[in-house]
């Protein structure tokens, strides 16, 4: 057994931490307040090859492992949740389906664009009537000659306004239920394809969340990703990987909560003492540190299993469930430690709460994670 990160992993973490502290963190408040998508930061991340971090060099990636990628997600999210989610959705949802299931040509064409950061990646699974029950997809794709004709809509899709194409799921065989769903790459400039981003979100204001509408959108037959009617199986795999990264994101936000709280607790004086001297405050900080450490170990374990080609669905669900719930708790405690100031936008902790909460919902709600875990332990 070895708990050490490799040299590469350590250097990647340290460089991304440095970058996030210097280039992202100072912008986080403004990104949250104005809801601006931080395109300039994404461009800098492309220059550093972060946008293709865990993919092979032949597709423009950096050839690092999944552990490294998750460490990067943690560091970026620690500085800014919105940028963290943009990055996570780009890699885990945008790049992964093509990397895992795409043909050689699709990888050369689409994955390379994504890894080089020429556009951000997006994955359209969720629909107004198909959320946790993603098998209930209503969007359809019918073959007409050599083209798929797509009709329907998607909701809550991250990054699509900044994408050149979106991989979506659609029903390709109505008679087969969830075994009749396929994944198809749809260019965002295809006629009949509309992308709208008008949600007013609780948090993650700098992350682009969109609705997709398909009105007789035609794409070539070869845009099918992987095998016909295997979309359901595919996205379960995609989500497994994504959950590990969401756990890393949660750890990043929780770490930011601890950093801010520790600093504030040392500074704030009440009853003639720094509030960090009060056991009630110390216990909150200690609990935060405990939970962060455990959640970090769990996402690293899940990522390690993935890197080593071992099954990791259960570990991914455990990591995501524990990390996301603990991040929300950490943010609540961080606000409590800050007292009235914590409730004000002057301090970052209320943002941490608004950002963290999504992690209990996206890429499978906490309830769904518990279902997955229960199934895995034999219920």
């Amino acid at each position: 057994m070895d708990f050490n990160l490799t040299r590469d992993q350590k250097m990647i973490r340290d460089v991304v931490r440095d970058f996030a502290e210097q280039e992202i963190a100072p912008r986080a408040t403004e990104i949250d307040r104005t809801g601006t998508f931080p395109l300039d930061i994404i461009n800098k991340m492309s220059e550093m090859d972060l946008m293709g971090l865990p993919f092979p060099e032949e597709y423009g990636g950096a050839g690092a492992d999944y552990v490294s990628y998750c460490l990067a997600v943690e560091e970026i999210s620690r500085a800014c949740g919105s940028t963290g989610l943009t990055y996570e959705a780009h890699i885990s949802l945008g790049c992964m389906p093509i990397y895992l299931f795409g043909t050689q040509e699709q990888k050369k064409k689409y994955l390379t664009m994504l890894c080089r950061g020429e556009c951000v990646g997006a994955f359209g699974l969720t629909e107004p009537e198909a959320g946790s029950d993603a098998g209930g997809t209503k969007t359809t794709a019918e073959l007409d000659g050599d083209e798929w004709v797509i009709n329907g809509s998607k909701c809550f899709i991250t990054n699509a306004s900044y994408a050149k194409f979106v991989t979506i799921t659609a029903v390709t065989d109505k008679t087969r239920g969830r075994k009749g769903i396929s994944a198809i790459i749809v260019p965002t400039d295809a006629p009949g394809f509309t992308i709208r981003s008008s949600y007013e979100k609780m948090g993650l204001h700098g992350s682009n969340t969109t609705e997709l509408f398909f009105d007789n959108v035609r794409v070539p037959r070869e845009n099918l990703v992987g095998n016909l009617n295997e979309g359901f199986k595919q996205f379960l795999k995609v989500l497994d990987g994504g959950r590990v990264a969401i756990a890393a994101m949660a750890v990043g936000i929780a770490q930011a909560c601890l950093d801010a709280s520790l600093k504030y607790a040392h500074q704030r004086v009440q009853f003639g003492r720094s509030i960090s001297k009060f056991q009630a405050i110390q216990f909150k900080l200690a609990d935060m540190a405990v939970n962060i450490e455990l959640a970090r170990l769990m996402y690293l374990k899940a990522a390690w299993l993935k890197d080593n080609g071992q099954p990791y669905s259960k570990e991914a669900a455990i990591a995501k469930l524990f990390a996301s719930e603990m991040a929300t708790r950490a943010a609540l405690d961080a606000i409590q430690i800050h007292g009235g100031y914590g409730y004000m936008k002057e301090f970052p902790v209320e943002r941490y709460l608004r950002d963290a909460k999504l992690l209990e919902i996206g890429e499978g709600t906490s309830e769904v994670q518990r279902l997955v875990i229960a199934r895995q332990i034999g219920c």
Partner: protein
């Protein structure tokens, strides 16, 4: 153009310095970084290489942990690294410079770069000494460097302004803040760094075994006095100001 960059691994700028039981600086548990001034030197070397071609070799005298600093330079884009392990030899600026110069004398070089000082011991001597031993000119605290046709034009900081100097190559230059903005190593750079050559040498390999010993020895180290709590002078403004002036004169002795 062949460029050699001398670099040192130092304590993180945010590290808390403590002394161990023997009164030496405690190294355990401290995070280590590349000396920030050396980062400017590495960046400048890479820019020169990108402009005119050539090879950048980074070299450090230090224990095996210093590989991390060298690897960072490789990840930024340097081509190869040399680590000289001094073993049990006690080092001062003279000893370090002797070792560096010996190692560099076996290389081809047009330009030697280093930080103008290390943030830990801050003696600002090593690069100059290397130049002296190699019998090449040295230009210190450089904030701008341009190289063309076998010579270099450098801007250096002097008291109250700056000085433009010209020097024939080969020469040693030491980097001051402002010379450039060091790049972040790219992810591909990090992944490639481990495939680049990292040559490890001992003093024996350089023919210096038993030949170098510090001429200056540190007798003891001490930490600065902890900052004393401030004093609040109560009372009416006019009276408090009078008291303050008195204390500043008689106690703090600053006016």
């Amino acid at each position: 153009m062949n460029i050699v960059v001398c670099l040192k691994q130092t304590f993180d700028t945010e590290a808390k310095i403590t002394l161990d039981a023997g009164g030496k600086i405690e190294r355990k548990g401290v995070s280590l970084i590349m000396n920030p001034y050396d980062e400017f030197a590495v960046e400048e070397a890479l820019r020169l290489k990108e402009k005119d071609g050539g090879e950048v070799t980074v070299i450090s005298v230090g224990e095996s942990s210093a590989q991390d600093a060298l690897r960072q330079a490789l990840a930024m884009g340097a081509d190869k690294a040399i680590l000289v392990d001094p073993g049990e030899a006690e080092l001062d600026e003279y000893a370090t410079a002797t070792i560096l110069a010996k190692a560099i004398s076996g290389l081809e070089y047009d330009i030697i770069l280093g930080g103008f000082r290390a943030i830990d011991d801050g003696s600002a001597q090593v690069a100059g000494r290397v130049a002296e031993i190699l019998n090449v000119p040295v230009v210190n605290v450089v904030t701008k460097l341009e190289v063309e046709g076998g010579k270099a034009v450098a801007t250096r900081e002097i008291e109250g302004g700056s000085e433009l100097v010209e020097v024939a190559l080969p020469a040693v230059f030491t980097a001051q803040k402002g010379l450039n903005e060091p790049r972040y190593p790219s992810m591909k750079g990090i992944m490639k760094a481990k495939k680049k050559p990292m040559q490890k040498m001992t003093l024996g390999d350089l023919g210096l075994e038993g030949q170098v010993a510090a001429k200056v020895k540190a007798l003891s180290y001490s930490l600065p006095e902890p900052r004393k709590a401030g004093k609040i002078i109560p009372g009416e403004a006019a009276e408090a100001a009078r008291e303050l002036a008195k204390l500043l004169r008689e106690e703090a002795k600053v006016i």
